[in-house]
Every structure is written in C-alpha cells, then in structure tokens.
Amino acid sequence: MSALSALIRRDIRIALRVGGGALIGVLFFLTVTVLMPFAVGPDLALLSRLGPAILWLGALLASLLTLDRLFTADHEDGSLDLIVMSRTPLELACAAKALAHWLAAGLPLIVATPVLGLLLNLDGTATLAVALTLLAGTPALTFTGMIGAALAVTLHRGGLLLAVLVLPLSIPVLIFGVAASQAAISGPVSFGTPFSILCALSLISLVIGPFAAAASLRHGLD
C-alpha cells in the first residue's frame, strides 16, 4: 500500500511543480468553452441550452489531452522499467497513476465548472448537475484514456493518435453525462437513471482500464 501511495504522491507533486501540466488542462478547458459562443453566437438562451454539452465536450478534450504524457514521461526517463520490475502488481501501479492524474488534472476541471457555468448562463441547479455528472464521469474518461496512454508508449507516438484511439471509447460516458445533466435541468427522464448508468460506466472503467493498460505496457516494452 505504501508503494502505491508513494507513487500517487510523486505523480501529484510532479504535476503541480514547474513543468507539470496539471493546470494547463484547466486553461485548455476554459479556452475551449470560451471559443464556443464565437461559433454558435452569444444568444444566452441558446448557450444555456447547449451549456452542459459544451462543458462536457471541453472536459472530455481537456482530460484526454493531458493524458498524453501519463506513461510516456516515465518511459522516457526509465522509471517505467523499474515500475514494471517492482513487486507492486503493474495493474495496481497503473491504477495509482491514473488516480493521481485524476486528482491533479481531473478535479481542477470540476472546480472550474461553476465559473464556466456562469459564462454559459447556466443557473445554480444546472451548474450543480454538470459538476456532479463530471465528478462521476471524469474518472471513466481518465481510466479509459489510460489505455490509449499505455498504447502510446508501445507505439512510440501519442498526441492525435491517442485521441483517435480513445475518443470513440468515451462516447458512452459523453452520452450519459450530458443526458444526466439535461435530465436535471429540463427532464423528462429522471436524473437518477442516466446518472446511475454513468456511475456504472465509471466503475467498469476502473476495472478494465488498469488491466488493459498493464497488459499493453507489459507487451510493449523493449
């Protein structure tokens, strides 16, 4: 256990220090959200209707782009070799890395949501609904995105390839995340139904993600 907590603490520390990318994700989220009104027009009624979708898309892209370096940084400096060799099961180490990434890069997105909700003319309930669905859904994004991040190590390229690999996998999360937020705002479905499916998706990805990532790392090293 202390090995995993050491890994989590190290990754968070690196993310927050100079050169770390934790806050750039939030900045990206902010920028993408601000771009939307320029494309669809500044009509507040329209923006508040599109708001949850815009925020979800922004959070999806932001959490995906920051995932790029999840394993490649450790691969480049040789840390990954030692993590693979260690007595800690690789699946658990992967899960710990993803958790650290979510804490450092995912949580700030949720904290930023109320501010962005203000820009998109969302009222209190709507903002709360979006923040809640992001809280339940972003772990799923991180833990499925991790699979792509592990493949990026194997294939020696990340960036756009990672996005192309992972974006289709995150479609269910997007569907139920936006559906739950819309349900809370205007109905007609109850909030609980899509929200529990969203939570289920997160739980499934918590299991599948680490195994798939560990498998691809094991076979991809050379």
Binding site: A3, A6, G19, L82, V84
Partner: protein, 200 residues
C-alpha cells in the same frame, strides 16, 4: 544462490540478437558482459530483468525467495536514470525507496555513500550526468536486492566515482549478492567474462 540462463535466444524487430546463450553466476560472483556495439549486451540484461521476453530458453534464480520472481529480486540500472528533474534529490531517492519496498532505512546515509549528501534538497535538474548516475546508484543501496543488473554503470562517472562504485559492488558481492554488468570498460572487480557477438 545461483542465477543462470540456458539456451537464451532474443529476437528484436525481426532480427536475431543472440541465440543459444548460456551463463551462470553464483553468490558473490560478478559477470561482465562484454562485446562490440550491437552484440546484445543491453538486450541480455533486459531479458534477465524481465523487460524483454526471450524467444527461447529459460532463466532461473536458485536459492532466492521462492515467492518472488527474478525481476522482483533484481535491481536494474539502465542508461536512463529514472529521475524526475522537478523533484529534489532526496524526494527522488525516497520515492524509489518507498515504492520498491525498502525496509526503514536512512536514505540520507545512502546519499552520503555516493557523496551527494550536500545536495539533498536541490532539484535533481541541477545535477550533472555523473551526479545523476550517483543518485541512481544510491537507489541500489537504499533497497536491498540480491541481483544487480548494471548497464554501463561507470560510463558517466569520474575516477573518484568509479572507485566509489567499485567499493559498493565489492560490498554487495561480499554480502552474497550477484552482479551482472554490461560494460566496455574494465569493471574494476574480479569478474567472469561473458563475451557476446563474434563467438556467437
């Protein structure tokens, strides 16, 4: 304790790097893997470390901990130092100490053993190549593992650093450890020679 490999064959990217390779090293013995560039010294080390799958052959560590696999009982010191420039020298070492499951042990003493105890709180980014190498060597000291797999361990070190490292290897061997080192420089300790390439 005895580390041995039999009939090892390694294929990388469709090219056969080596085949039919046998080796063994007992407690207190050092094995120096020598040979020209591209003869597969690093590949052999990575095969022993479990980071590459051998195409054929078997590896065994007799007399080790039966519960643990060979890589779990080995230290690997590769070309890359596994250091994070944003973290301080001590944070880097303390992380590996904790992650690799070392017994409670004074990490400060390990830093002193590689003459880095004055730089404890400086970011690892400020270290020179030789100092970075010393810091990774401190990792070998902070967690006890019977098998040391070393890839060109002395390449970045100055003479003082090399002497210091020879002393540390001697201590490790005297405690019954095993050293397998890929090198093109003399190791500085009595070692059995495993010549790669040429002879096949």
């Amino acid at each position: 304790m005895r580390l041995s490999g039999q009939n090892l064959k390694c294929v990388r990217g469709g090219r056969e790097v080596f085949s039919g390779l046998d080796f063994s090293a007992a407690s207190g013995e050092a094995l120096a893997i020598t040979g020209p560039n591209g003869s597969g010294k690093t590949s052999l080390l990575r095969v022993i470390a479990g980071l590459l799958m051998p195409a054929e052959g078997t590896l065994a560590l007799e007399g080790g901990d039966a519960e643990l696999s060979l890589p779990e009982q080995a230290h690997y010191l590769g070309h890359r130092d596994a250091l994070k420039p944003a973290l301080s020298v001590l944070e880097n070492l303390a992380f590996w100490h904790e992650f690799l499951g070392g017994e409670p042990r004074d990490t400060g003493k390990c830093l002193a053993a590689v003459a880095l105890d004055h730089a404890t709180h400086l970011p690892a980014a400020y270290l020179s190549a030789g100092q970075r190498r010393r810091l990774s060597i401190a990792r070998l000291l902070s967690v006890r593992r019977p098998v040391w797999l070393l890839d060109e361990p002395t390449s970045a070190l100055d003479t003082a650093g090399q002497e210091l490292f020879v002393g540390l290897m001697r201590e490790h061997l005297a405690r019954g450890g095993i050293v397998v080192a890929a090198t093109h420089l003399p190791l500085g300790i009595e070692a059995r020679d495993l010549r790669m390439g040429g002879a096949g």
